[in-house]
Point group: C2
Chain length 254, copies 2
DNA sequence: CCCTATTTGTTCGTATGTATC
DNA sequence: TGATACATACGAACAAATAGG
């Protein structure tokens, strides 16, 4: 190591850990690091020193540091990314799901800026799943609207939303002109719609989804499938989303 | 390979793929495999031949097979486990979350046998999160009831449920005697309770959770945190669960 | 595209102290 | 006292993902 590095200490001074008070070393390390995060010494989003550097600082084995870090990761305080490093976790976004779930409105209420980018809007034949949800037959024409949604400039969601091309003729063009799906549906005569059911699973993302969400492929995503219905209970749209689970938690209020 | 292996063919006979009809080879392979799964040639839970064996069977490169398989995995037809193999996905369990969510009742309705195993029931000091949810102060005494729940003999859920030790004196012993938490609460004077909110995230499991759920550590789990309240709206219990996301999808009905 | 360095993830083996039977 | 189990801590090696040239 270059001596000039000493002028830019990347971590607080050495800490004395007691090896005789009966408290496990890894627990003491976790306490110290949690306190430092709480004090803002390591602000949200900041990269922590490497496991090796932390091991040097506390004068313990790397395994001992890892034990402390894994406890903090489970608490949601850290995000550990293989090959990149360890990061202090930013505050996650609560995405509230209620009967009346609207993406933009939802995040605005949490003082998040929102943005969206259409990937494509096109007509295709309904898959078995889409057909079943919308009450159509497999192969019936549907409009698929694929987009990536952002909060505070970070991609948090990749989605495809399907509409019956028969029920909503011309929605293809309307969607391309509108900012939000709610707006497009209103222009197509749907004054109001509500969420009927939402299905949630967790899995690892496809390469394409990982790219869109700018996350590694070994971090899981939340996958949701939701069906929206109009005031008469008829299906309006079926949406499939992948959420960056490191940044979003989905909250269902009854 | 031992010649006797030939007497136990593990896969259907060779299939002719057309290289001239403009349909990508991997799509043709996917069609064939999906048809075979639909026909029950590869029943749910069955291990498929290795990628190499499939490549030999279709006389293509292993990467071509992988392309087909990855499409099927995204559809949820397969489950790929690094180092173990490729398995036909069993039908997943729909765990319905409504205002009145009861574990056993919920799964019985889907003709699933249920079982549970208590890991421990003990008193501890409330963490910040638990205290906040139950309306207590950090360190206040709470009873933690940890269990693993099974459906059809497969572990699908690891959970800890917390109760105020002040509000429910003696629940520690009642829990140990009861089969279900609903029953224990009834014995403690809670006639009815409803789910107020449920929070969902996805992450990779801890070693302990992976062991309980009998799944590899690189398969994600669904993590839910739910708050139950009594008829007066007072918090009754706070539960934190990890779900084997390969076997369960959580469905919220509004 | 390959190659290398960095960093985290995983799995061995070993040793020690403590609690329990 | 021994036998056993368990948690803790260290060391070494290798695997896997990332980033940069």
């Amino acid at each position: 190591m270059n001596p000039s590095d000493l002028s830019a200490p990347t971590s607080p001074a050495g800490v004395d850990l007691s090896r005789e008070n009966g408290v496990a070393l890894w627990k003491q390390i976790q306490q110290v690091l949690e306190a430092e995060i709480a004090q803002g010494i390591w602000p949200p989003g900041e990269k922590l020193p490497t496991e090796f550097q932390l091991a040097e600082r506390f004068d313990v084995n790397r395994h001992t540091v890892r034990r402390a870090l894994s406890g903090m990761e489970e608490k949601g305080l850290l995000r550990v990314e293989q090959g990149r490093g360890i990061f202090v976790h930013e505050h996650v976004i609560d995405y509230m799901v209620t009967k009346r779930t609207r993406f933009t409105e939802n995040l605005r209420r949490q003082n998040r800026s929102t943005d969206g980018k259409f990937l494509f809007v096109e007509m295709e034949g309904a898959s078995e799943k889409v057909a079943k949800a919308l009450g159509l037959r497999e192969g019936d024409p549907v409009i698929c609207c694929a987009k990536v949604s952002y909060a505070d400039g970070r991609p948090i969601n990749v989605s495809e939303t399907y509409f019956s091309a028969v029920r909503f003729p011309g929605i293809e063009d309307v969607l391309r002109e509108c900012e939000s799906i709610t707006e497009a549906l209103q222009r197509c005569g749907v004054r109001d719609y509500t969420r009927k059911s939402t299905r949630v699973i967790a899995r690892l993302p496809s390469q394409a989804d990982a790219d869109h969400l700018r996350q590694p492929r070994n971090r899981p995503v939340l996958v949701t499938e939701g069906l929206d219905v109009d005031e008469q209970g008829r299906p309006v749209s079926f949406g499939a989303s992948r959420w960056a689970s490191d940044w979003v938690q989905i909250v269902f209020e009854s």
